[in-house]
């Protein structure tokens, strides 16, 4: 029995991704945005730099070990995921992002029933009373909470 190729590929690509991020941090982000100025003892950038080096070392080791395992088993390094699977993983992010854009323009108490209702419909709920109640009750709750906080002067 050979090792499961999926975690190996995931480890390899995630290792490479984290290593690339660490290189970006070490080469550009931390030197430019990590803080400047004279410090007694420890520079403001020291700990972030140390964290990035730890990330880089571990991620490179992970990618290297996974690459060796993949090569020994003659498994491909790259396999395109099915479009359907990819879409299934992506649409919830796009859905929430769309409503975040809406919340930026309209009050959440207006947007919330549409957000909850449409997600319920997308997930297959067809009983109208369930959709209506689930969509409206949390929004009313938020409205009540906001009104209460405004009355006591917190918001």
């Amino acid at each position: 029995m050979s090792e499961n190729p999926i975690p190996l590929r995931m480890n390899f690509w995630s290792g490479l991704g984290v290593a690339a991020l660490a290189v970006l941090l070490l080469a550009w982000v931390i030197p430019h945005y990590g803080g400047r100025g004279f410090a007694v003892g420890m520079h403001p950038r020291t700990l972030a730099t140390l964290g990035a080096w730890v990330m880089l070392g571990c991620a490179l080791a992970l990618a290297l070990l996974s690459a060796i395992a993949l090569m020994r088993q003659r498994l491909p390094f790259f396999r395109l995921p099915e479009f359907g699977h990819l879409w299934h993983q992506t649409w919830p992010f796009l859905f929430v992002l769309f409503f975040i854009v809406l919340v930026d323009r309209f009050p959440l108490t207006w947007v919330a029933p549409f957000m909850i209702g449409s997600l319920l419909l997308l997930l297959g709920e067809r009983r109208w009373h369930v959709v209506l109640l689930t969509a409206v009750i949390p929004a009313i709750g938020l409205y009540g909470l906001t009104a209460h906080l405004m009355r006591i002067g917190v918001v």
Binding site: A22, G35, R72
Partner: protein, 506 residues
């Protein structure tokens, strides 16, 4: 040393009706969240933190501790009736809970689980009280060398023990450290990694970070899994008298409960291991030491008792390093640190010096929470059994709404919403690629303390590392850290080699 009067007044404060109402609210909410599969403790605490903004510091923490305890006990209900653990740590409860419920004894199984949970939780809380105060008294004598060494040791330990790969754990810790340094440098005032955003001057706001990485990311994972896990059926509770738990039956499980509580408390006190490890270790030991090990997995009440007692004992025990040393050993402990920070209290040994009355009232509140857990679980059994039928497609949209509402109500505005979304993507990838979330969060939380102590140590020593020879505790922890890193790397390498040999042998 704490006086008798202080203990009495802390209990009096915890037994005040307002305090009881708040703890009851937390336990009740925790129970409901625990019962609903897919919602876990971390999600519940992350979403509940905004609710506690307008409470006093004690009320907020007591509410969150009640919630944390409630989820641990509630998660057994769905494990037993649905064969789907409300929390990953209740997976061990499924092994005997579901077969017992399917055999027509669901109420008996639930009551064994509840009583084991309460006993485990109560005993571990008493242990916390007994151990944390002497621990904190010693820790107060530590200087920056010792604290910096202990914090680095804790991070490496958590990265190694939190499950999964040690390399991924350390990498996640590195990410946490980098994010923990964002904001104004406390010594020089230099803006670090703020990219010109005033909102980042005080650091990455903790609420969008925890709501994004824990709650919203979890909902994205749930949405992904939803299409695979549709249509689970719930076992209904009967009114059959034979399904009631007798005292004799409960008494028979007590030795297992006590042993499992010990295991859970030990595992909980070690940062990073978490309740799943405790529950499975206790279950394994109960099975091995049983006269009839073959009955385990087929509905043995001792299996439920072992898993639940250990699972619930881990939670209070995980607060030992938190209150004793200021090191959060689990995600829920790290979230509590966040809640303390929001209320302007530094959790750890300094609490014993600066807020002793609050510390003792919290401990008293934890005992009250354990007892309320019993009452809520006992009398709400049928209601909670019904809650398990709430389908995930209703829970997910409501939780997504609560995530956004929590950010909006706190006035974070568009910046907060974008931050929460960015952290949700980050958290999703951490979960999908199995990078240790607990190491990331603990590293993020302890980085300011680590940096302060490291900086003080560097200034005091003048950069001379030989000063460690005069600080035996710090030196011991530096050596432990190096040995731990070597051991974990070596065992990881051996596992990798064994897998490789197995693969080439086939």
């Amino acid at each position: 040393m704490i006086g008798f009067d202080a203990i009495v007044s802390s209990f009096a404060a915890a037994l005040h009706y307002e305090s009881i109402a708040i703890i009851l609210g937390g336990v009740l909410l925790g129970y409901i969240v625990g019962v609903i599969p897919g919602l876990n403790r971390a999600v519940a605490i992350a979403i509940a933190i905004p609710l506690t903004f307008y409470m006093s510091a004690y009320a907020a923490i007591a509410f969150l501790i009640g919630l944390s305890k409630g989820t641990a006990a509630g998660s057994a209900v769905s494990a037993i009736l649905l064969n789907t653990p409300g929390e990953p740590s209740s997976a061990a409860t499924c092994l005997d809970g579901f077969p017992m419920a399917r055999a027509g004894k669901p109420r008996k199984a639930l009551k064994v689980g509840l009583l084991a949970s309460v006993v485990g939780d109560l005993l571990a809380t008493l242990l916390l009280i007994a151990v944390a105060i002497p621990f904190a008294s010693v820790a107060l004598k530590f200087g920056p060398y010792e604290l910096a060494a202990i914090l680095i040791f804790a991070l490496v330990f958590i990265a190694g023990m939190a499950g999964g790969s040690f390399l991924k754990g350390l990498a996640a810790g590195g990410m946490g450290v980098i994010l923990g340094t964002v904001g104004l440098d406390p010594e020089t005032g230099a803006a670090r990694l703020t990219f010109g955003y005033a909102e980042l001057m005080e650091g990455v706001p903790i609420l969008p970070l925890v709501i994004g990485t824990l709650a919203l990311a979890e909902m994205f994972v749930q949405l992904d899994e939803y299409r695979r896990n549709k249509g689970a059926s719930v076992i209904k509770l009967s009114h059959d008298k034979a399904d009631d738990l007798s005292f004799k039956e409960f008494k028979a499980t007590l030795p297992t409960v006590f042993k499992s509580t010990g295991i859970g408390a030990f595992v909980g006190a070690l940062p990073g291991l978490g309740p799943s490890v405790g529950a499975f270790m206790a279950y394994g030991l109960a099975k091995r030491s049983a006269k009839d090990p073959d009955s385990f997995g087929k509905g043995n009440p001792n299996g439920i008792a072992a898993a639940e007692a250990a699972d619930n004992a881990v939670i209070p025990a995980s607060y030992i390093p938190l209150f004793g040393l200021g090191i959060p050993g689990s995600v829920s402990a790290a979230l509590l640190v966040g809640a303390f920070m929001i209320h302007g209290i530094q959790v750890g040994p300094l609490m014993l010096r600066d807020h002793p009355e609050m510390l003792f009232t919290l401990f008293s509140g934890m005992i009250v929470a354990s007892l309320l857990m019993l009452a809520v679980g006992w009398y709400g059994l049928r209601i909670f059994a019904k809650v398990t039928s709430v389908p995930p497609h209703i829970v997910i949209p409501v939780v997504i709404f609560l995530c956004l509402a929590g950010i909006q109500v706190q006035g974070y505005g568009t910046f907060g919403l974008v931050t929460v979304f960015a952290f949700a993507i980050f958290g999703y990838f951490l979960k999908k690629f199995d990078y240790s979330f607990v190491t990331f969060l603990v590293a993020f939380i302890v980085t300011p303390m680590l940096e302060m102590n490291l900086r003080q140590a560097v200034i005091l020593s003048g950069g001379d590392i030989a000063i460690l020879l005069n600080r035996p505790i710090a030196l011991a922890f530096v050596v432990f850290t190096a040995l731990m890193a070597l051991h974990l790397s070596w065992s990881g390498y051996r596992q990798w080699r064994q897998k490789r040999l197995k693969a080439s042998g086939n």
